[in-house]
Amino acid sequence: MPAVTETIETVQAVTEGGYKWGFETDIEMEFAPKGLNEDIVRFISKKKNEPAWLLEWRLKAFAMWQKMEEPRWAAVTYSPIDYQDSHYYAAPKAGPKSLDEVDPELLKTYAKLGIPLKEQAILAGVEGAGESPSDSGRMPIAVDAVFDSVSVATTFKHRLEKDGIIFCSISEAVQEHPELVRQYLGSVVPQGDNYFAALNSAVFTDGSFVYIPRGVRCPMELSTYFRINAKSTGQFERTLIIADAGSHVSYLEGCTAPMRDENQLHAAVVELVAMDDATIKYSTVQNWYPGDAEGRGGIYNFVTKRGACRGARSKISWTQVETGSAITWKYPSCILQGDDSVGEFYSVAITNNRQQADTGTKMFHIGRNTRSTIVSKGISAGRGQNTYRGLVKISPKAHGARNFTQCDSLLIGDQCGAHTVPYIENRCMSAKVEHEATTSRIAEDQLFYCRQRGLPEEEAVGMIVNGFAREVLKELPMEFAVEAQKLLQISLEGSVG
C-alpha cells in the first residue's frame, strides 16, 4: 500500500502551511472592557443606540444564559471556555468617507482576502463605489462586511432598494426597520433555545438583515463576509432573513480569522423565515482559522442556524462547506410548518490535523406533504474527528411527509475518526423516511487509475475528494463553488494534497 503510506507521510510533513487567511490587521480599535455581565450587555446596547425593548430582550437572554449549563453532549472535546476573559465588543474606529481616507491597513486586509479592487473599495466602506454595473457584465454580488463586532459596509443597497429589498446590517435595521426586527427577532431561535443562542442573544453585535418583499426575486446574490481580527474577542453575529410571500433570495456567507494560539469563540445565530411560495437559499463557506497541526488555536464555531418554512410551498435550502474552525458544532435546521414546504441540507465537512466537527441538521416535519433532503459528506484526515448528527422528526399530522438522507464519510489516514448519529422519529403512518450512511476510505483502484494517467498523488486525491463532495458542491452558487473546490484542496493540504 505505497499510496497510503505516502499519503500518511504527507499528512505528517506539511502542517499549517495551508491557511492563507491567517494574517492580522493592525488597526485602531475600540474595545469593551474584558468580561461578561449586565453592564457589558448595556454597553453593547448603548453603543448600538438600541431601543429599550431590545435592551430588555438582551437582558432577559442574559438572565437565561446565567441559569443554563454549558452542553457537553457533542462528540467534541475542548478545555473550558473562560467567558470572562474576552472582549464582547471590538470595532475599528470610525469608518472613512472616501477611498483616500480608508485606513490602508483595512484596505490591505481585503486585498489579502482576495476580493477584487473595485469590490475592495466597497468593502472598505467607500460610499457610492461599485454602484456602476460590473465590468464582466454579470450581476455583481452585494456584500455586507462584518469586521469583528461591526458591519463596516454594505454594498448595492440603493440598487436593491429599487425592488424594495432591505439589505443592511442588523444594527442599522434596528434603527431603520424596528418593527420588522421586533416581529421576527427570536421568532425562530428563541433567546433560551440553547446555551450559545442565549449568549448570542445577550451580546450579539452585528450581522446582516434581509427582507425580500412579496413576489420579488432578488436580482443579485446577497452575501456577508465575516472577519474576526482582534485578539481576545469573540464574534457573536446575528443574521435575520425574511422572505415574504412568493419571493426568492440566495444568500452567501464567508468567514476567516487570523492565526493565533488562543481559541476564539464564534457563537452566531441565524434565523430564516419563508412565507408562502418563498425560497431562501443559504450557502456558507466556513473557513475560520482551524488551529495548527498540534491543535493550538483556532476558532470554536458554535452556531445556531434555523429556518422556518412558515408558508405553504415555501422552501429553505442550506448548503455548507465547513473547512475551517478548530471545532465546528452546528445543525442548520428547517421547521417545515407550511403544507408542501421543502427543506434541504447539503453539507461537506472536512476535519484535518486536530480539527473536530459535530454537524448535521434537524428537519421537523409538521405540515402535510412536507419534503426534506439531507446530503452530508464528511471527510476526516490527520487526527480529525468528524461526526454527522441529525434529526428527522415527523409529527402525527405531517401526512405524506417524505425524507431522504444520505450520509457518506471518507477516511484519509488511520488516526482520524468518522461518526454518524442520525435520529429518526416518525409518528405518522403515511410519512416515509429513508436514511443511508456509508463509511470508507479512498479506493485504491481510483487512486491507481489517476496515478497511472500521470497525476501526482496529491492532485489525484484532491480530485477524488472533489468528486466525493460533488453532490453538495453543485448546490453552491457558481462564485462559491469555485472557491469551495480550491478550499477543499487547501484544507487537505498536508493530509493528501
Binding site: D414, H419, T420, N426, R441
Partner: protein, 436 residues
C-alpha cells in the same frame, strides 16, 4: 421508624439489603463483593431516566413505579409446558426447575447457577459489568439462578432450549436470572431461548446473559420474547467472540407491555463474525425496544444486522444500533439495516442507527427506513382478488421474512417462524389464506 420504599430503585435496594444473607452465595466472599458492586452501581444510577442518552426513547418510569414482590420459593402446580423438541432447561419465575426440565444425557455440562455458584468466580460480572449499565447492576445485586452452559473444545453441542416461564400469581414477582454460556475452541451450540408468561400477569423479567465464544466456535442463539402483555422485560446480552468464531443472534421481540432488549457483542479476535437479526411486533399498548452495539475490536471481522419492526395500534417501536470500529480493526466489514412498518395512525417508531469509526480501511454502512405499507404493492395484490386484510398480512409477512431468512441455523429459523406466525395471529396480522 423509617418507611420502607415499595417502588423504584429504593425498593430493589431495600430488597437487596433484606435478602443479602439469604441469596445464593451469601457466605461466599467474592459473591458478596460482586453483589455489593451491583448495589453501589445501582444506587448511583437508579433506573435510567430519559435524560440518559441510551434511554432517550424508552421510559422506565412505568417499571420504577410498580410494586413488585418476591417470586414464591416453590411452585406447587407446574404450569402447562409447550412441547419440547430438544433437550430443555425450564425456569419458572427465574428459578431452575429440574423436575420440569428434560435435559437427558448431554455431551457437555449444563448446571443451575444457584448450585454451581461457588465455582464460578471470575465468570460473573466480567462481560456484563454492573458499572456499565443500571439494569445489569440491578441483576447483579439480586440474581438467584440461571443456566450455566459449558461446551468443551471441539464438541458439537447440538440444540438445547431454555424456557423461562412466569407463574400465574398475584404477587407481581420480579426475577433477575443470570445465564452464562461458554463455548470452547471449535465447539458449536444452538441455543433456543423462549420467555413467556400468563397473558395478563404483571411481572418483571430482567435476565442477563454473559456469553463467551472461543476461537473457531459457533453459537447460534435464537430468542423468542413472548411475555404476557402486562409484563416488563428488560434483558441484556453481552457476548465476546474470539478469532474465527461466529455468534448468531436472532431476537423476536413481541411480548410484554414494555420490552428493552439490549444486545452487545464484541468481536475480539481476527475474522470473528456476528450476525444479529431480529423482528419486533408491537400491538396496541406495547413499547418494544431493541438496542444493539457491535464492537469491532480486531481486524478482518464482519458483522451483519437486519432488524424489522411492525407497529399496529397505539404502539411504539425503538431501534438503536451502534457499530464501533476501533483503530486496530482494519478491514472491518460492517452492515446494518433497520426497517419499520407503521400500520396505524397512532404508532410511533424511533430509530437511531450509529457509526463510530476510528479505522480507515473499512467498509461500513447502515440504512434505515420508516413508513407505511407500499400502496403499489397493496394494489397489485388487491387487483388479483386478494381481500385487503389478507393482502396487508401477506406484505407484512414478506417484510418480516427478510430478517428470518438471514438466520443460517435451521432449528432456529423453524422455531422463529413458528413463533412469528403465532404472534402475528395474536395481533390479527396472519394472512389466513389457508382457510380461504
Amino acid at each position: 421508624m423509617t418507611a420502607v420504599a415499595s417502588t423504584g430503585a429504593a425498593a430493589f435496594l431495600g430488597r437487596h439489603e433484606g435478602l443479602r444473607n439469604r441469596l445464593p452465595g451469601a457466605r461466599v466472599a467474592w459473591v458478596e463483593a460482586l453483589r455489593e458492586r451491583g448495589a453501589s452501581a445501582f444506587r448511583a444510577q437508579g433506573f435510567p431516566t430519559r435524560r440518559v442518552e441510551a434511554f432517550k426513547y424508552t421510559d422506565l418510569a412505568g417499571v420504577a413505579g410498580q410494586v413488585f414482590g418476591e417470586p414464591l420459593t416453590s411452585v406447587d402446580d407446574a404450569p402447562a409446558l409447550p412441547d419440547a423438541t430438544h433437550p430443555r432447561a425450564v425456569f419458572v419465575d427465574g428459578r431452575f426447575r429440574p423436575d420440569l426440565s428434560t435435559l437427558g444425557e448431554l455431551p457437555f455440562a449444563v448446571r443451575s447457577l444457584a448450585e454451581a455458584l461457588p465455582n464460578l468466580e471470575g465468570r460473573i460480572g466480567a462481560l456484563a459489568r454492573p458499572e456499565d449499565a443500571a439494569l445489569v447492576a440491578l441483576n447483579t445485586m439480586l440474581f438467584e439462578d440461571g443456566l450455566v452452559v459449558d461446551v468443551p473444545a471441539g464438541v458439537d453441542g447440538g440444540t438445547i432450549e431454555l424456557l423461562s416461564l412466569a407463574a400465574e400469581s398475584e404477587r407481581a414477582p420480579a426475577f433477575h436470572p443470570r445465564h452464562l454460556v461458554r463455548l470452547g475452541e471449535g465447539a458449536t451450540l444452538t441455543l433456543i431461548e423462549t420467555a413467556e408468561g400468563p397473558l395478563n400477569a404483571r411481572y418483571l423479567h430482567n435476565p442477563v446473559f454473559e456469553i463467551e465464544v472461543a476461537e473457531g466456535a459457533r453459537l447460534s442463539h435464537g430468542r423468542v420474547q413472548q411475555e404476557g402483555r402486562e409484563a416488563f422485560f428488560l434483558s441484556t446480552v453481552r457476548a465476546r467472540v474470539a478469532a474465527r468464531a461466529t455468534y448468531d443472534n436472532f431476537t423476536l421481540n413481541a411480548g410484554a407491555r414494555l420490552s428493552r432488549n439490549e444486545i452487545h457483542v464484541a468481536l475480539t479476535g481476527p475474522e470473528a463474525q456476528a450476525h444479529m437479526n431480529g423482528a419486533q411486533l408491537a400491538g396496541d399498548g406495547q413499547h418494544l425496544d431493541t438496542t444493539t452495539s457491535l464492537d469491532h475490536a480486531a481486524p478482518n471481522c464482519a458483522s451483519r444486522q437486519t432488524y424489522k419492526t411492525v407497529l399496529s395500534g397505539r404502539s411504539r417501536g425503538v431501534f438503536q444500533g451502534k457499530i464501533h470500529v476501533h483503530q486496530v480493526a482494519q478491514k472491518t466489514d460492517g452492515y446494518q439495516m433497520n426497517q419499520a412498518l407503521l400500520l396505524s395512525e397512532e404508532a410511533e417508531m424511533d430509530s437511531k442507527p450509529q457509526l463510530e469509526i476510528y479505522a480507515d480501511d473499512v467498509k461500513c454502512s447502515h440504512g434505515a427506513t420508516v413508513g407505511a405499507l407500499d400502496a403499489d404493492q397493496l394494489f397489485f395484490l388487491r387487483s388479483r382478488g386478494i381481500p385487503e386484510p389478507q393482502a396487508r398480512a401477506i406484505l407484512v409477512g414478506a417484510f418480516l421474512t427478510e430478517a428470518v431468512e438471514a438466520v443460517a441455523e435451521e432449528d432456529v429459523r423453524a422455531a422463529l417462524s413458528r413463533a412469528l406466525d403465532a404472534m402475528r395471529a395474536r395481533q390479527g396480522l396472519a394472512a389466513g389464506l389457508e382457510e380461504a
